[in-house]
Structure formats: structure tokens, C-alpha cells
């Protein structure tokens, strides 16, 4: 692949990110609704004050100027971006968006990328097997498993695993990313603690997603099996194992890599399953919070991160794709 092609792709990606950022900026400000209503209700109940008083106090808390012209806001935002500064949260005025992302992103990145990679690897292997041995019981067993895991709401699986493994057997911790008693830092006890806490969320994620990977992989592998070169190879006496790993799997995996990339980008937005059931920290909480409170700067910042992730992952998949399949030439046009 030519350097020029790669550069061009990077250029287009940058423009996409920029446009997505602009669109997000304006869409957020066009979104109807008010941050205050629900918040005031909670506030009034919890502090035992009249609703009117709660409204007043909250309005005082959200002290941004909604009348500031939108282009002035945009200008300020873009100015900050140039310096890598995503601005301050509008609601939590002492906290910068960068700081929030720095706190949330590593957890999401860790637990979800491990989950995604494990479930992808198991899933495509199962899928290839299914396609290859279509007449055996493997196919219906995995199909039914996949159907079950995609029909049962994944959080039920999560609760079930939590109840069994965390409560009944006590093998895993109940919640969180690490024990509050352990001091965070780059030391062995902390790292072990983090791995221990991450195990159950990762297991749950893997269990609930391998089925879909397997089915999609099978769909893709069946195409490949029908190709002339496979038939030719099998007539030539290429062993079944080689045929599967060298020819079928490698080729059938291609469209799934694209899907993997897209999923990778999406998942940076957080996973409700992992964050709610296992109260695992992550991006989802902050996005939810910012959306509820219409904290524009925070929403923008978080969504920008996910946008960049989606675009980067797609770019990466394009490049990997060209490397994996020699027939794909990176478009010169």
C-alpha cells in the first residue's frame, strides 16, 4: 500500500472527526429538555425542601449562561481543543473534562477491550467450526446458545453470574474495580486486585457476546467454503486443519474485523451491563450523567472521545484489512 493512500485516509478521517464534532456540538444545543426537572425532584425529596426551593438552589448551582451566543461558545470550545483542552464541566465547574476522561477511560478500555478480544477470538473459532462441520451437532448447539444469549437480556445473565459466583460461592468480589482499602498505584497488590475485580464483568461480557460472533462468522465462512479455491484446495488434499485455519478462517474473518473495529469504537461509550450490574467505573456513567444534566461541555468531550475511537478503529481496520487480504488494494483514487 502506498504511503500516499495511507496519508489520504488519515486526512479524510480527521475531517470526519471534525465534522462529527461540529454536528455533535450543534445537535446537543438543539436537544429539547431541561436538566433541572428530574434533578430538582430528587433534590427536594432528599433534602426535604419545597420543590420551588429545590429549583432555586439547582438553578443557582448550574450557573452557566445559556444565553451566550452559540458561535462564541463554539469559538471558545475550538480554541480550547487546539490546546488539547476539552474545557470545564458546566455543572461540576471545578472539574475539567480531561480529568473526567482520564479517570473513566482506562477502566472502560481495560475491561472492554479484554472482553472484546476474548469473545472475538472464541467466537470466530466457534463460527468457523460451525461452518466447517455443518452436519454435526456443534452447529445447532452453538446456534441455540447464541439465540439464548441474544434473547435473554444480558443483564439477567450478569445478575445470575453475580449471585452465583460472587454471593453463593464468594469466588469474586461483589462490585467495583478494586477494594477501597487497597491503595491505587502501580504495585502488584493493586494490579492483582484490579484483575480479580475485572474477572466477573469480563466473563459476563464474553458469555453474552460469543454467540453473536460465532453466528456472524459462520455466515461469513459459509460464503468462503463455496469458493472455487477452497474446493480446489480440498481436492488437492490439503489437510482439513490447514484448510480451516489458513484458508477459511483467514478469509471469513475479514468482514468481522470491520465489525470488531466498529464495536471497539462504540464500546468506549461504556457498557450499561458492566457499569450497572457490577458497578464497574467507566465512561457510561459520565455520559449518562452529562446527558441527564445537559452538561454540554462534558457531553461534547466524552462524545468526541468515542467519535475519535470509532474513526480510528475504522481506519485501523482498513489498514489491517489490506494487509490480511492481498487482493484488497488500498484505493488509490
Amino acid at each position: 500500500m502506498s504511503l500516499k493512500g495511507v496519508l489520504k485516509r488519515i486526512g479524510v478521517s480527521l475531517i470526519t472527526v471534525f465534522l462529527a464534532m461540529l454536528l455533535t456540538f450543534f445537535l446537543l444545543r438543539m436537544t429539547p429538555g431541561s436538566a433541572i426537572d428530574t434533578w430538582a425532584r430528587d433534590f427536594a425529596t432528599q433534602r426535604g425542601m419545597s420543590l420551588e426551593e429545590a429549583y432555586r438552589q439547582i438553578t443557582a448551582m448550574i450557573n452557566y449562561n445559556p444565553k451566550e451566543p452559540i458561535f462564541t461558545q463554539l469559538g471558545r470550545y475550538l480554541g480550547g481543543l487546539l490546546h488539547g483542552n476539552l474545557g470545564m464541566s458546566m455543572i461540576y465547574q471545578n472539574v475539567s473534562v480531561n480529568e473526567i476522561i482520564a479517570n473513566a477511560l482506562p477502566w472502560t478500555l481495560f475491561v472492554l477491550s479484554v472482553s472484546l478480544v476474548i469473545s472475538f477470538l472464541i467466537g470466530i473459532n466457534l463460527g468457523a467450526m460451525m461452518a466447517f462441520k455443518r452436519k454435526t451437532v456443534l452447529d445447532p448447539i452453538i446456534s441455540i446458545y447464541a439465540i439464548l444469549t441474544s434473547s435473554v437480556p444480558n443483564f439477567i445473565v450478569g445478575i445470575l453470574l453475580l449471585v452465583i459466583f460472587a454471593f453463593q460461592f464468594g469466588w469474586f468480589p461483589v462490585n467495583g474495580a478494586y477494594d477501597p482499602i487497597v491503595e491505587p498505584g502501580f504495585n502488584l497488590p493493586f494490579i492483582l486486585n484490579v484483575l480479580y475485580h475485572g474477572a466477573l464483568p469480563i466473563l459476563t461480557y464474553v458469555i453474552t457476546t460469543i454467540g453473536t460472533w460465532a453466528l456472524t462468522m459462520k455466515g461469513s465462512a459459509v460464503n468462503v467454503l463455496g469458493e472455487d479455491y477452497i474446493v480446489a484446495a480440498s481436492i488437492r488434499g490439503v489437510s482439513e486443519r490447514t484448510l480451516m485455519s489458513r484458508y477459511v478462517k483467514r478469509n471469513a474473518m475479514l468482514p468481522l474485523i470491520t465489525t470488531l473495529a466498529v464495536n471497539f469504537g462504540f464500546m468506549l461509550g461504556g457498557s450499561p451491563l458492566i457499569e450497572n450490574v457490577f458497578s464497574y467505573p467507566g465512561m457510561g456513567y459520565y455520559i449518562g450523567q452529562a446527558t441527564q444534566q445537559r452538561d454540554y461541555t462534558l457531553m461534547q468531550g466524552l462524545l468526541l472521545v468515542t467519535s475519535i475511537a470509532v474513526i480510528l478503529a475504522n481506519l485501523a481496520s482498513d489498514l489491517i484489512y489490506a494487509k490480511l487480504d492481498p487482493r484488497v488494494k488500498l484505493e488509490e483514487g
Binding site: 427536594a44 425542601m49 420543590l51 438552589q57 448551582m61 473459532n125 453475580l162 474495580a177
Partner: protein
Amino acid sequence: MNLLSGRKRLSGLCLSIVLGAVMIVSGCGTSAPGLVDRLSAGEVKDMQQPIPDAQIKYNKDKIFHVLGGWPKPPLYQGNPFGSGGTGDTNNRYMFEGLFFFIRSMNNVYNRLAESSEDTEQTTTVHLHQNVKWHDGAPFTSKDVWAYYRLNNGAEVTKYLTSIETPDDYTIVFHWMNPAPYPELRKLLLAQDLQGQIPYHIYKKYVDKADALLKEAKPLTDKSKDGPFNLDITDELSKKIALNWNEFTRAGPKIPVGTGPYKFEKVTTTDMLLDKFEDYWRPDAVHFDKIWIKNVPELSAQYALVKAGKLDWYDGTPPKDILESLLKQNKDLVHYRMYDPASVGLMYNIRNKPFDNLKFRQALTYVLDKKKLREIGNFYGQEYPKISMTGIMPSSLEKEVDKSVLDQMTDYTTNLDKAAELLKEIGWTKGSDGLWRDPDGKVPSFIIGAPNNWAPGVNSAQIAAEQFTKFGIPTKLKAVDSTIYFSNADKGQYDMSMDWVDVSWGFQNPWSSMRVLFWQGTKTKVGFPNVKKKDADGNEVDTGKLDLKLKGIDGKVYDIDKEMKRFPYVQDEQERRKIIDNLAWIANENCWGVNFFQNATGAWLNTKTMSGNFPMMDQIVQYNRDMPLATDPDEQLAITHLNHGFNSTYMPEEYWPR
């Protein structure tokens, strides 16, 4: 090969899931005797007094485990008035007020106030003298003064002229003339759960606010109200707001209160509070630490409750879940209590035909409230006779005279009456079973409800089905809560759901009447406001209620005037009359339907915690599923378990076991 191992893992998992599910269904019993066994065996001694450390069996670390919420770090900060607060569910352990009150009842108790006395124009509060802030500074009257000067929008300041601090432990509140009646004064003061802030930390902002207030002139226009009877100009108001905003950003990093526990540590999922060694009531502290977990998913919360990982849990799940949890953990006990709020539907009188009283009444006769309650919240209580009265239904008999209640229209389900009323206003029923309006059109109505409010959404769906079955096609729309309220206030739905007959602050009939005539119910029903012409001849909405209606004695009343005069009426009988009249007017005008009064509850884990549990002598009888208490002392003790209804440190009444 990884494929094979994958398969093995799979079948192994399937097996353990099945096994686990079987275990959950059968419910593994705990080996230690449950609460009912212990009570039946006469083992109540350890429940009556604190257990010596050496004898503690199950909670040796003396940690009180609860759930809570807070802005997750890095959003967390220590100013309870800062953005996002410090987690309202946790404030009860770290902060205290002058008084505390229990929201669903009218009781007010002293806390940091040692005593107080009233004269016609003043209330004098004497403070406890040995109270310290968590950073070691003494708590004085200046801290109370600081709160009201800085937070000069606090409701009570509208009724005050000034606050004096003659010495470090005395505060004198000067009321305006006329002053609110004495019981209301105490409620207004107690309403600020935390009527003090550490002056030594916020001196800069308090002094600034005080100086700004001193710039203002006394209020001359009697139709307006301002803090300390001051006329706050727009310019001044901006400066005050700016100062307040700076104060909210001023930290400190961790909360500083006077309460029994001080902040130790917070992560995104856990918060640890540590016993405050200098707490002024050392006898009230039985636990060494409070460990608060932040678990958002309801089902994960149930799992924690079931496993006995929490000592106390706030909330009442649907009936069958509740029963199953009690069955599976014999140490749990659940108490129910009234919520000072009802789930209700409001008719939007801006829309035709809801402007027609008879139409509204007809719809009200259609509803079968028992079914609405069973689906909305089984443990609630329906009151079939009323439409919506502006008063918490459970206290109707206490607050409203019996003769007035007898004169109210009875809206108990009556389909014939509904049909009759519709025919009276020209509606006809077609052969397809659908009603047609006088123009011959079959209507189609929308009920709006906020999507995150399960009791409202679920009961509104049943109401829509009941209307539809009667022949008035109605659909429910569950709308995202961040846009629902503004839509409903603008009148976008034919009917809308919200809490009705609700008291947000203290419980007092005037407080819930305010919601009806001045606040949430007003905007959803769409009561008209007084309109004025401005200088250019444009019509301006003054925001002031414009509602003149016939009262129970046949005279026409200006509702706004009646509401405004209430706080200053010193004679209790006269106050009762105002409420009688307003409640009657509300019920007759049928602006909405009170589906049912909500009930909520709390769980205690008696394995790890002991104490004088409420309704102790009935626990065996009801097998730990406790009904609504009737005895006022028990009601109080139970209501005290709910964090939303009171501001106090709850576990002082319990100890580790």
C-alpha cells in the same frame, strides 16, 4: 486447541448456571437461626441493649453497610451546596441541622438546637455548646447566621427581617410583622436540613453576601417578597448569584460537618466514613465505620439485600420480589410506611373537552383505582371517593372537617354515572362501543408520563386501558424525563402523570396545597394566570394564579388570596376552615385523579445488627413482612428508617451484633 477448551468451558458454564439457578429457586437456608426463630425462642435481650465488643459475633469490624449515591470522582467535592452535592443519601451521617423533622409527619425535634422559645416577633434558639466541626473548629451561632446570610434564598428568609447572634450559642430570628404562626415557623426553620455552614471556611463568601444584602433597600411593594424583607434589584441579584456560585466552587475537597461520622475515602463505587472522635453525643455512635456502596442496578441491589451484605436498605420492591427476598433470608425484616405523595393523573384543562367539568368527572368515574394501585404499587392505598384534594389522603380525616368530607362528591367507580354525564354534554355511544363527541368524532387521547417513574408509567397504562375499554380510546406515552416535565407544563398531553396531593418539604396541608395551586399541579392542569398590559400594550403573564371559584358556602373565593393569607392566620380554627374550603373546591372541580397514595419501606438486616426494632412484638405474627403501623410511636420509628423523609443519623438506634 482453543476450540475444544472453549467448548468445555461452555458446557461447564451451562452446568453451573443450571445448578446455581436451582439453588436460587430452592433458596439455601442459613445455618444460624433467623429472626423469627430467635424471637420465638424468647431471645430478645440482645435486641434491647448494645452488645459488648467481645460478644459481637457477626459484625466484629463494627461496620454499618448501606447503599448510597454521590458524584463519582473526580466530580466529588466536599461542599454540600456545590454542584452535584456530596450525595444526599450520605449527608445524614456527616451533617446535622438545628432541628430535624420527619417529612411525612409534622414532628420537629431539636438537634444542634438545645432549646428554643417564641415571642410574637422572634424565635430564640440556644445551641449545644460542645459541638465541633470535623476539622476541630467549634460550632457557634455565627455558623448559623452565615448559612442564612449566604443562602439568602432559603424559603424562611422571606419571613424574616433579621438574624442576630447575641453570643456564640444564641441565635435570635426576627420575624416580619405579621409573623407566620408558631408551628409553621419551626417547620420553616427545620426545612433547612442543614441550617449552618462553617463560617471559618467560607468567611470570604459569607461576608461578601452580607455586605451585598446591606446594600439593598427595604421592600415597599407588598405584593413581592424578598429575603429579610429586602428589595433585591436585578443588578444586586446578579452579584449575589455570582458570589453564591463562587462559594459553591470553593470546596473544601472533602465534607466538613458536625455529624457523628467524618469522611474518610471515596472511590467511584465505595465510600468510607469514619467515627468522629469529638462527636458531641458519643453515646449515639455504635459503629466504627460506615461503608457505603454505590450500586445503580436495582437487581444488583436486591442481590446484595438477599445475601445479607447490607445492614439497612431503603425501598420496597414489587410484592412478590419482596416476599421472595424475605423467604430466602430469614434475618431480614421489612417495614412499610406512607409516602407523603400520591401517584396521580391531571387533566389538561387547556385542551378540549377537558375544559368541561362534566367530562372530567365522567372520566374520573370510569377509573377503578384498586386495579391502578395493584399495578402501580401494591402496597399503596387508594381512596376511591376523592378526585384530587390537595391534601395527603391518609391525613384527610385529620386535616379536613368531617362535615366537609361528607359534602364532597363521591367519585367511586360508576360507569353508568360516567355514561350519564357524557350524554348530558352531548356525547353519544356508537354501536362499535366507542364514544363520539357532539361533532360525531371519536376522540383519541394521550396520557403523558415520565419514563423513569415506574409506578406512574405502570398505573397510567392501566388507566389508558380502562378509558379505552369504556369506549374512549386513550394511549400512554412514556417520555424521557428530561423533556417530559417541560412538555407537560406547556400542555402537550391531554392528561399527564405526576405526584399529586404531595408535600415536598414539611408535611402540612398548606404545603401540599401549594403544589396544587402554585407549582407542579398548576402548570400541568393549566390554571390561568393574571395577565397585565405592559407599556406597549402587549399582554404579559404575571405568573400569579387567576382562579376565582365557588366555595363550599356558595361564595366566590380568590384562591390565590386564600393561599397567601394562610401562613399568617394565627387562629387554628380559621386555618382549618381555609383548608376545608380549598380541599372541597379541589375535589368538586375534579382537575385530576389521585390514583393512590404511595407507600415505601425499609429493610433491616438483623443478623449483623441489633436494636429496638419497631413493632418487635408483631414480627413473629407477620413473619417479618410488616404492615403499615397504626401506633404513632411505631409510625415514627419506621418513618425514621427512610432517608428521604428525615434528616437524621439513623443507626444511632441500632448496634453491631
